[in-house]
């Protein structure tokens, strides 16, 4: 057995800092996800028509679907570069449990994609003529929902690591698993818009997040071990 780590928190922090630094240095990636998010949302008024009432009605759904797609799009770079340059093998061999490492990487992914999405979302609500009552609930729902997306998507990214055409495959794996988050995220905003309490939906979103935090690391770590074999 190796000597106990004097500061058990530090390797996790280092891993998160490393991933954030990588994402920021390759800045374009993180920016691109936001631009994609905005573009998808902007397509809807052009496709559905600029009727303010209709746009206000579908705003929550459009923003959530765009957030789902943006999260999925950014997913493949979670492990891809590590897999290509061999650092994944080092991570697997390191004494830090792979499950915790996955949590660190998912946290970094959320900080570089989920958080910017939440910051941009109110602006898009404005573009889609969303009623003011919806904003606080939408932000709260996104704050609870997008970390689940990072965690669930991370499992898909780990599973499809090294596959042929992994991008398309990833969408087939991950989007069905995103559906519960989408359903409760949108219905929370709808409840907020109609003035009824969104507590139940927000609690379910929180429950989904807790479940994902507890279970996703096991599945992702098992998948990563196989990818590194």
């Amino acid at each position: 057995m190796s000597a106990p780590d004097p500061s058990p928190g530090s390797p996790l922090g280092a891993l998160i800092a490393r991933d954030i630094r990588l994402a920021l240095r390759q800045g374009a990636d993180s920016m691109m996800v936001i631009v994609f998010f905005v573009l998808v949302v902007v397509l809807f008024p052009l496709g559905v028509g600029p009727e303010p009432a209709i746009l206000g009605r579908i705003a929550a759904g459009v923003i959530w679907v765009a957030a789902l797609l943006a999260a999925m799009l950014s997913m493949d770079r979670l492990f891809q570069t590590d897999h290509e340059d061999g650092s994944l093998e080092l991570l697997v061999l390191s004494p830090l449990p792979l499950e915790l490492q996955f949590l660190a990487k998912a946290t970094a992914h959320w900080l570089t994609t989920g958080l910017p999405l939440i910051i941009v979302a109110p602006l898009l609500g404005l573009l889609l003529n969303m009623a003011p009552a919806g904003y606080p609930v939408m932000l709260l729902a996104l704050a609870l929902g997008t970390p689940s997306l990072s965690l669930i998507g991370g499992v898909g990214a780990a599973l499809s690591l090294g596959a042929r055409r992994s991008g398309v495959l990833l969408s087939l794996l991950v989007l069905p698993l995103f559906i519960p988050v989408l359903i409760f995220g949108v219905s929370a905003v709808d409840a907020g818009l109609t003035g009824s309490a969104a507590k139940a939906q927000l609690l379910i979103l929180g429950g989904l997040l807790l479940g994902a935090v507890a279970l996703a690391p096991w599945a992702a770590a098992a998948a990563l071990r196989q990818a590194a074999e």
């Binding site: 596959a163 087939l172 989007l175």
Partner: protein, 239 residues
């Protein structure tokens, strides 16, 4: 169970069971269809369309049964590294996907006259649709790697992750206020369905289950034979 991890022993077992599965399946499906389409009465509300039930309900049961088998075999393959379990999982996936599709299609055909619509986004229908995507994801992931065993193990993890959906499907009609009716056969206080309708339904269910085992056995044997042929070819090319 570990006795049958040995491919030779497993092959011997399923070769012995296959004619039985075939016989039970053909017999039950034939008598079940006879009772379902001719003997059983028409419903006092739904009239003749109630007969869709005899195809639809067992197909839905099988969709969940096959997924449970898929997840169970995947877990067994990952935990004990039994190749046979993976072969069973691979053989099960397309059959389960077909049952799921059948359940969705017949449900849609039944929904049009009863609910007035082909499709509603209620919890039961949505969760079964997700089940179909999980099957398709399993099949796609399994075939997406150059290294076959890597693909199989990745797909096995996906099957286990997706197993959370099975209880959601089962209880979706109780948890949410759905257009789809709640369970009426598998209940604690006995089935709420008349025996003239229950008999053909159960016959069909047994027939479907036997059909699954029959096709699964055929597919497993085909895969083992395929592996044998590949090995022979390899030996020939090296000689």
């Amino acid at each position: 169970m570990h006795r049958f991890a040995n491919p030779t022993r497993f092959l011997k077992l399923i070769s012995a069971l296959q004619p039985w599965a075939m016989g039970i399946s053909v017999l039950c499906l034939a008598t079940g269809l006879y009772f379902a389409l001719i003997v059983s009465p028409a419903d006092y509300q739904q009239s003749e369309t109630v007969r869709i039930m005899y195809v639809h309900v067992p197909a839905s049961w099988m969709a969940m049964f096959c997924y449970s088998a898929l997840a169970g075999a995947s877990a067994a393959g990952l935990i004990w590294r039994h190749l046979t379990a993976f072969v069973v999982a691979r053989a099960t996936a397309p059959i389960g996907a077909a049952f799921t599709f059948l359940a969705l299609a017949t449900g849609s055909l039944w929904g049009k006259p009863m609910w007035g619509t082909w499709w509603v986004w209620d919890a039961r229908l949505t969760s079964v649709l997700i089940l179909l995507f999980l099957y398709l994801g399993f099949i796609a992931l399994e075939g997406a790697f150059d290294d076959r065993s890597r693909g199989m193990r990745a797909a096995a993890i996906l099957a286990i992750v997706g197993a959370v959906n099975v209880p959601i499907i089962k209880y979706s009609v109780d948890w949410w206020n759905t257009l789809h009716q709640p369970a009426s056969v598998v209940k604690l206080d006995g089935p709420a369905i008349q025996s003239s309708m229950l008999t053909p339904l159960l016959l069909m269910a047994v027939g479907y289950t036997a059909f699954y085992f029959w096709v699964m056995f055929v597919r497993v044997r085909a895969e083992f034979n395929d592996a044998r042929i590949q090995a022979l070819r390899l030996r020939h090319s090296q000689a």
